[in-house]
């Protein structure tokens, strides 16, 4: 099994006496749906998305009944209407939580998850999800510190996973111009990185990147089964790309690492580490 690391760390603001613990956990499996080859274009800016493919979790459900807006204050500002879709994530070793994204009035996008604790076909428990790792909605874990029983359990049914809530998996090319280092001219470099698009913002997985020096000779980079050819003069506006092979339809699990600082209660804050 391939593992990709989504890095998380703390800013150096926590009290020195706090003890940090780091744990790793695999995400719920994500399905990268099949894409099409043949996409091509010209690199005109430093970074360019060269391939997009649909991604879902392996289980999706749709509500048969509405879930009312909670009356007490909390992270969830809105309810959900009948017909809305939720994506499934692993909870305990033998249970599922179903989550959806809502914009909160105070904290931006947040997720709320629900469970059918008695397996009667009705969601009866709400749990906050915590902040998604690097903002990617599928990479969350249900939290049991603030559970809330639903006064009106909501019926739901499974739908084909491919039809459920989706995000985009993507390949991003980055062209680093040639530059002089210590008086020596270094060639341009082209890199190809796998990641996800969140609100059209590329979130790369640092461990899944391939890089090559770029001269006037074509270069083919392969990342996660996808092959992209780069050719032409290695300058913006002149470098051409062509997707020879898209990412094959696959299931993958992402290794998520989180750091706890223990004071009086556990909290975690994933922060994207810039490359």
């Amino acid at each position: 099994m391939r593992t990709w690391l989504a890095a998380a760390a703390f800013a150096a603001l926590w009290p020195a006496f706090a003890a940090a613990q780091t744990t790793s956990q695999l995400s719920t499996p994500v399905v990268i749906h099949a894409g099409e080859a043949g996409g091509e274009g010209v690199i005109t800016v430093r970074t360019t998305i060269v391939q997009r493919q649909r991604a879902t979790t392996i289980r999706s459900v749709a509500l048969d009944d509405a879930i009312a807006t909670p009356t007490q204050s909390g992270r969830q500002a809105q309810g959900f209407a009948a017909g809305e879709q939720l994506f499934g994530i692993y909870d305990e070793y033998n249970s599922w939580a179903y989550c959806a994204l809502r914009r909160s009035w105070w904290s931006g996008d947040t997720l709320t998850c629900y469970e059918d604790t008695d397996n009667d076909g009705k969601l009866d428990l709400a749990l906050p999800s915590g902040a998604p790792f690097n903002g990617i909605p599928f990479f969350v874990f249900p939290e049991r510190r603030e559970t809330r029983a639903l006064q009106q359990p909501a019926r739901f049914h499974r739908i084909p996973y491919a039809e459920g809530p989706a995000i985009e998996a993507a390949l991003q090319a980055e062209l680093i111009d040639s530059r002089r280092v210590h008086g020596v001219m270094q060639p341009a470099r082209i890199s190809l990185q796998f990641g996800f698009l969140v609100n059209n913002r590329f979130v790369g997985l640092n461990s899944l990147t391939r890089t090559s020096d770029m001269t006037t000779e074509p270069v083919t980079l392969e990342v996660d089964g996808s092959r992209v050819e780069f050719s032409g003069t290695p300058e913006r506006g002149s470098l051409h790309y062509r997707v020879l092979t898209p990412m094959p339809a696959r299931i993958e699990r992402i290794l998520l690492r989180r750091t706890y600082v223990r004071t009086t209660s556990y909290t975690y804050i994933p922060i994207y580490i810039p490359r």
Partner: protein
């Protein structure tokens, strides 16, 4: 300690070899060749280090009800269950709520010690959260722990301890061994190709080894990964007496088929998986040695 026990049990089932105890005569035909790459080596241990390993216990007995196979499973469903006698235990009479019962382990192959989340004294036990795991011995056999061993390294197979240090004797009591129930459950797909019919092709699936002992609120869960072939057959779990449990046809949405197969079928799948791994290694080596492709003329760009 639970992780050590589960690691030993999963090694017995999945590798079919390297069993710590001699299998009883009733278990015939258990495959002997290792089927998975060996686990990574432990960090280098000084020659004079104290090593604690689980105390020998009777081999767990699988509860194989043949009438339950074949059938289809979803994530979380039980594949097979075991009953396992627990280990002798001790508890401190003045233990705080956060301190756990101490389970018997063997030090350097012969010395009896007891290990668990406990402090040197009641006064040193933290008010919130569990204390660190430590081991204790009663060297004068007067019913009180009089030496403590600090754990310096704890992996899935053994603990490395610092030399014993004398402590103010702390009275402890013998406790009945807690019965352990161990179940192997299907954990769902891990990674692999997705086929057009919703099945998963070549890849890996997850099984969860779930252990619950008496008085325990939350089970101890340890995941394991099983490789699968393109045709959907996955590495089988040996349960002795020439029987193996094979998971097959995993789907993307988390279903799988489970059935009993004989040793020959289990061996065929194992051989095919090893052959595939050898091919993958050869391909990687070949790619690393391959010459660069010949240059081609760049296509005309579209204005």
């Amino acid at each position: 300690m639970r992780s050590l026990f589960i690691a030993a049990l999963s090694t017995v089932l999945v590798a079919g070899a390297s069993v710590a105890q001699t299998p009883p005569a009733s278990q015939q035909g258990t495959p002997t060749s290792p089927v998975l790459p060996p686990p990574p080596p432990s960090p280098a241990t000084p020659p004079d280090a104290l090593i604690a390993i689980p105390a020998p216990t009777p081999r767990p007995v699988p509860m194989v009800d043949v009438s339950r196979y074949p059938r289809d499973l979803e994530r979380g469903d039980v594949i097979i269950e075991y009953s396992a006698p627990g280990l002798p235990r001790r508890t401190f009479g003045d233990a705080s709520g956060a301190e756990t019962a101490l389970e018997q382990m063997t030090l350097n192959g012969s010395v009896e010690i007891y290990c668990g989340a406990a402090a040197e004294s009641e006064a040193l036990a933290p008010a919130d959260g569990k204390p660190a795991i430590a081991c204790f011995s009663d060297d004068d056999h007067d019913g009180a722990a009089d030496h403590i061993y600090t754990v310096t390294n704890n992996d899935s197979r053994q603990m490395t301890l610092a030399p014993a240090r004398a402590i103010t004797p702390r009275t402890w009591d013998e406790q009945p061994a807690a019965e352990r129930r161990i179940s192997f459950r299907y954990g769902g797909p891990n990674s692999g190709n997705v086929l057009a019919n919703g099945r998963m092709g070549e890849g890996t699936i997850e099984i969860q080894i779930v252990m619950v002992a008496d008085e325990q609120e939350h089970p101890f869960v340890s995941p394991r990964s099983l490789p699968c072939l393109e045709d959907g057959r996955c590495l089988a779990l040996s349960v002795g007496n020439g029987r193996n449990i094979m998971l097959s046809a995993p789907t993307v949405e988390g279903a799988v088929h489970v059935q009993l197969v004989d040793d020959q079928e289990a061996q065929r799948v194992r051989t095919a998986i090893l052959a595939r791994r050898a091919t993958e290694v050869d391909d990687k080596n070949a790619d690393a040695a391959a010459p660069q492709p010949a240059p081609t003329s760049p296509p005309a760009t579209t204005p």
